[in-house]
Amino acid sequence: METLGFLMDGFAVALTPYNLTFALFGAFAGTLIGCLPGLGPANGVAILIPLAFALGLPPETAMILLTSVYAGAMYGGRISSILLNIPGDEPAMMTCLDGYPMARNGRAADALAISAIASFSGGLIGTIGLIMLAPMLAKFALSFGPAEYFALFLLAFATLGGITGKSPMKTVIAATLGIMISTVGIDISTGTQRYTFGVLELYEGIDFILAIVGLFAISELFFFVESRMGGGREKMTVGKLTLTFKELVSTIPTQLRGGVLGFISGVLPGAGASLGSFISYTLEKQVLGKKGNFGEGDIRGVVAPEAGNNGASSGALVPMLTLGVPGSGTTAVLLAMLISLNITPGPLMFTQHADIVWGVIAALLIGNVLLLLLNIPLIGFFVRLLSVPPMYLLPIVTMVAFVGIYSISNSAFDLYFMVAFGAVGYFLRKLDIPVVPIILGLLLGPEMEKNLGHALVLSDGDWSGLWASTLAKSFWLVAGLSLVLPYVVGPVLRRRMNAAIKESPASD
């Protein structure tokens, strides 16, 4: 029961008043970020990174803050799904199906309460899964050599688009662009200046924090300007809570199923939270079949996707913490924080920085409880915030991004860079080139090059050394499959997801 001991140490880290304050703030800010449409979890965490950095927070506190924001955002996403039929973030899409009809039937308060509880149990199941699986995976990953790592990175990129992704080729292009940006600067192993063009600011390479904030937050502003969604939305009334204890108990099996399924799809590369909530919802519909009235405000139709996406969000932390390979945008941003704190993620982190890893895990558990406590009484507050029009909000968010970037380096040069990334991000997103692989490329590029070099030195320059071992071979195989499969299975799956959404009468 080594794990339990580590977890206790983790609680000791996370429960200090200082860290607890940040966890509380993070949970609160995260819910806020999650519930505002257009400000997804990746965005929110991205904006807070420079702040956490500039404040000089100790690494464990910074990570606790950001993981709480992450967990909070997953909670918050459901609020606008239920009340406005607009998902606050992508995984909350499925919650619209039954959440909004429930709200229209006058049961908005119940839907919000039960979804908070479902989020809690999903998150809890996911975190327990993380506690059990992560140390095992970390131990296993210790046997990886450079060739395996190189193949693993390829696998991460290949699966990033996900099985439902539209164009895997565009994911490849985006990842390549990201890695290319990461090669700017002085080469670590030889000292050669690469792509610096004699500009002093480029010698140290391009800071990925600039790229992240630019590509996510600034490009989002442009999208809002374009779509002119500046106006506010009508106010929603939540009404009284009529949820009975019996009803709550009746959803427990759904919560368990949803949480477990969500966790599994979170761990698997390429699945992610969106698929987690989709699978949970569809399975629930299959299992209960005619006994439920899904699509018309069935309470279990709210519970299943919420448990699913929160389970998935904890599951997604498993590959990020143990292998240093994130599977989603938000975990990629968390990885950026780790790297800029000078912590190398991967199996060694579990031994070298046990306090941080277990502190973060304990913070997830505590954060879940805090979120449940926050979400039920404060729901009215969050609902009121939903009616703050983006035309006031987005400029302020942009300003906070400027402040964060400026306070890291006190240089206007970085701000120009960030704006440039924002403009480029807008064009790329318009052209359907996803930005997450770019970020991941920026983050993993240097590691990839290092592992490629090591692998070739070990094999005496023989390129076939990159796929010599069985493990490496299987990584290459899965990576290849994930690039081909979306062309085969993708259209079918996407059609089904769309069909499921269209079926529900309320979402027209």
């Binding site: 500039a54 404040l55 539209k166 164009s167 080729m169 565009k170 490849v172 292009i173 390549t176 662009l177 890695i179 290319m180 090669t183 080469d187 192993s189 030889t190 000292g191 050669t192 690469r194 792509y195 600034i218 502003l221 442009f222 300007v225 374009e226 002119r228 500046g230 106006g231 029009p389 983006p390 035309m391 006031y392 987005l394 400029p395 302020i396 942009t398 300003m399 906070v400 400027f402 402040v403 400026y406 306070s407 006190n410 206007a412 701000l415 120009y416 704006v419 924002g422 403009a423 807008y426 318009k430 052209l431 359907d432 080139i433 090059e449 490629l452 070099g453 070739l456 030195v457 320059g461």
Partner: protein, 148 residues
């Protein structure tokens, strides 16, 4: 449905990939002789991948996205200019003044009534300035408003 956007992007990326790969071949051999993996190895691979990707884009482009036209393009350009000018004026004008102008202009352009927009800008600027400089002791430029 012409896929012009993707084709142009593909062309641009092709130029980028070739230039990127070409630059990599120009670096002097590192001190100590050539190894299997030099500074140019990885960039060369990347450039080949990107060449392949960009050709694919040009051959099999996706249908075009809806591009903003006319007034919206102008609004986008205005927002971009506001952001650049904000970055430029942050130090000389100080945080409070430049932020009031930037946030105010942005929310005004996004549809808020001008007076409320600039009030929002001013209030948020002062709150953030006080919070950062006194609460968190991160120094934001005060500009001409510097007291001492």
């Amino acid at each position: 449905m012409t896929g012009l956007g993707d084709r142009l992007l593909g062309l641009g990326l092709l130029v980028l990939a070739v230039a990127y790969g070409w630059v990599a071949q120009q670096w002097p051999e590192p001190f100590g002789g050539a190894e299997t993996v030099g500074p140019e190895t990885f960039p060369t691979i990347l450039s080949v991948v990107l060449v392949a990707g960009s050709i694919y884009l040009m051959v099999k482009p996706d249908p075009d996205a809806q591009w903003p036209l006319g007034k919206t393009t102008l609004e986008l350009a205005v927002s971009l200019v506001v952001l650049v000018v904000y970055a430029m004026l942050l130090e000389p004008l100080g945080f409070v003044i430049s932020t009031t102008l930037a946030v105010g202009t942005l929310s005004w352009r996004m549809g808020a009534p001008p007076r409320r927009a600039f009030t929002t800008g001013l209030v948020s600027a002062v709150v953030v300035f006080v919070l950062f400089n006194y609460g968190l002791s991160l120094n934001l430029p005060a500009g001409p408003l510097e007291v001492n």
